[in-house]
């Protein structure tokens, strides 16, 4: 297997799917001539041409609206929103149209639409450009939400998303593009809506996804030195949410920490915790803990920003508290 970066994995997925299906096309701000803000689509414009790699005006509502229309018309758009923070400008199109049209028109049309976007903080982009509002989007039935934490999953999930006939919000993390990982050779997909165990263990379950998977794996390595054996379940998809591996793991360890980058209130951790209590109450041996972002607009100041975002020692501390 090749050891490549998340950026390369995502880029490969897009390239391979565009080669495979002429209906797949890319649109977004600076995706063409410039090659994408995170350089994911570098070289695409020259290879696939301006019809399939479309630079758009700076209007998120227009991008998503056009993508929805073209998907209904039979194309398979991959629309890029430069960051998930800008998705709020296209909120009505995303949650009231993309998520609902198949349902409201009695299945007369499908929307094979992928919205690629970038979330997360830690790069000193300020309060409005550093958010992790994943839970907001995962709230809406009709919209699938995917957020990979490894290059292999990113490639497989993006290919699955492009081939899916459902509207999918594909959330990449701004600080994971350089992360390297083993990626299978050849064509493969990772099914949407399947959680997975990224690290087996027996003492405590960490449930996490995306960037926080990376931190959780580091925390687990540290804890292993003290003889604490952590199992890590990676959600990968937030909707549909696959609780199977989470519950299975929890029934084994009876203890859990949920790690998310977004704010704690009404967040992913709240949902996971509720479901564990609903589905595995008799297996609870200690109160479940959540590690999440401090409840403040994310500061620009580097030191303050790092204090607000969960880090490895926060995770280690939480794990020890549930043991």
């Amino acid at each position: 297997m090749a050891r490549i970066t998340m950026r390369e994995a995502i880029s490969q997925a897009l390239w391979e799917e565009m080669e495979r299906d002429p209906n797949v096309f890319i649109m977004g701000e600076e995706v063409g001539v410039w090659g994408g803000t995170y350089a994911v689509t570098k070289g695409f414009y020259d290879h696939f041409g301006p019809d399939r790699v479309k630079d758009t005006p700076i209007s998120e509502a227009a991008i998503i609206g056009a993508a929805i229309g073209s998907s209904i018309a039979g194309l398979r758009p991959v629309a890029e929103l430069m960051t998930i923070n800008f998705a709020f400008s296209a909120m009505d199109h995303i949650v009231n149209e993309a998520a609902k049209m198949h349902y409201m028109f009695n299945g007369q049309m499908v929307l094979p639409l992928v919205i690629r976007t970038v979330g997360g903080g830690g790069r000193q982009l300020g309060a409005t450009h550093s958010q992790t509002p994943d839970a907001i989007f995962a709230h809406f039935p009709g919209l699938k939400v995917v957020a990979p934490g490894t290059p292999a999953d990113a490639k497989g999930l993006l290919k699955a998303a492009i081939r899916s006939n459902d509207p999918i919000l594909f959330i990449e993390h701004s600080t994971l593009y350089q992360t390297r990982g083993e990626v299978p050779e050849g064509d493969y997909i990772v099914p949407i809506g399947k959680s997975t165990v990224q690290r087996p263990g027996k003492d405590v379950t960490i449930v996490t996804y995306s960037k926080m998977l990376e931190l959780s794996l580091k925390a687990a390595d540290e804890l292993a030195k003290e003889g604490i054996d952590v199992e890590i379940v990676d959600l990968r998809s937030l909707r549909p949410l696959d609780m199977g591996p989470v519950i299975e793991s929890f029934k084994k360890t009876n203890r859990a920490v949920i790690v998310e980058e977004g704010w704690k209130s009404f967040g992913i951790g709240s949902e996971i915790m509720s479901r564990i209590y609903e589905e595995a109450f008799d297996y609870v041996d200690a109160p479940i803990k959540r590690v999440a972002q401090k409840e403040v607009p994310l500061p620009y100041n580097h030191t303050l920003e790092q204090m607000a975002i969960p880090n490895v020692s926060d995770i280690i501390k939480a794990v020890k508290e549930v043991l």
Partner: protein, 426 residues
Amino acid sequence: METVSMPKLGFDMAEGTLVRWVKAEGEMVTKGDVLAEIETDKATVEVESGFSGLVARQLVTQGAIVPVGTPIAYITQPGEEIKESGKVNIGPEKKVESAAETWEDVKVFAATEPNPAVVSSSITVSPLARKMASDKNIDLHLVQGSGPGGRIVKRDVEGFKTSAPEATVSPVPAAAMPATQASKMSIPVPVWTGGDSARSDEVVAVDKLRTIIGRRMTESKQQVPHFYVTHEYDVAALLKLRKEVNAYLPDEQKLSVNDFIVKAVALTLRQFPNINASLDGDKITRHGHVNVGVAVALESGLITVVSKDADLKPVRLISAEIKDMVSHARQGKVKPEYIEGSTFSISNLGMFDVEHFVAIINPPEAAILAVGSAKEVPVIKDGEVKAGMRMKATISCDHRVTDGAEGARFMQTLAGYLENPIQLMS
């Protein structure tokens, strides 16, 4: 929309446990259908719906303890919307960390589930440890918790060793007496060879009914100054009348001695309003209705079924009603009206060959009559000993309400009815 509330099934009922919903949410009921079963201080009773319609919402969960008067269900007509008049928050006070203000659930939290591993609130235990202890029949009071704040967790239950004493008893040596001793004392001293055949102690939990009987009777004995008046009745005529009447009745309708006593007591009570009474603080309520409670022995304890307005009903109706109520009680299913509203009680142990006994007053009633067996005894009449039928009864009275003379007059008046039983047939 109609609201069904927790009924008040006795003078002093403050709350009841909703044991079972008979009608589910979404089911149709007609007026008179049994809606739910409720366990009160006295028995499990069936609550009938006072309305016809749809069980639109159950407001309490099974097992919840619900104060009297609290809404338990909404009955609506098809298409009608539920209009919430207010929120209902009942149940054991749960500690909800920093969420007290967001407590919006209208469902009532169930009381502690019946569970061998039920623990007092002073013990903290994880759900997993609680379940493991329950599965293994481990008493959590004996387990030392190692979690935060002493919480009992999985490892504590796993590591718990039952410290029950070993069940081996060193046998007492048999044949302690040498068999060859040629003594005149040839009768061997019996030797206790140990308790192999002795039954071991049995520990049974005190159930709800037993608990309630215990509490109420203790309260009564401690707080009600009882006095007792015993009277012997000539029941020859009553027994003869009963035999004659029963000759015309099918088996299932035959009258018992007690049916006549209920009627006689009811007629007597009408003349003694101060005994057909209850004390509440500084007031005595002299009840307008004469409702005679009849104590019924059940496997699980004792309940009192109530013959309402027994002074106005014919004996055969009294008899039929009591038979019906007793048969329901034996099946553990009592309707509220069976047990509510008694103004005086009778406890009859006549069927057990009892000379006489005294009963404890069932508060807030002012008196109770304890009835013994009717026996053939020698009686002296006109200076001669003759055979006669006699039955003793003892009234226990609350001295705060009445006095000995009134109690004695009551017993005497009762004699007027029991010994001239034709009056009871009116």
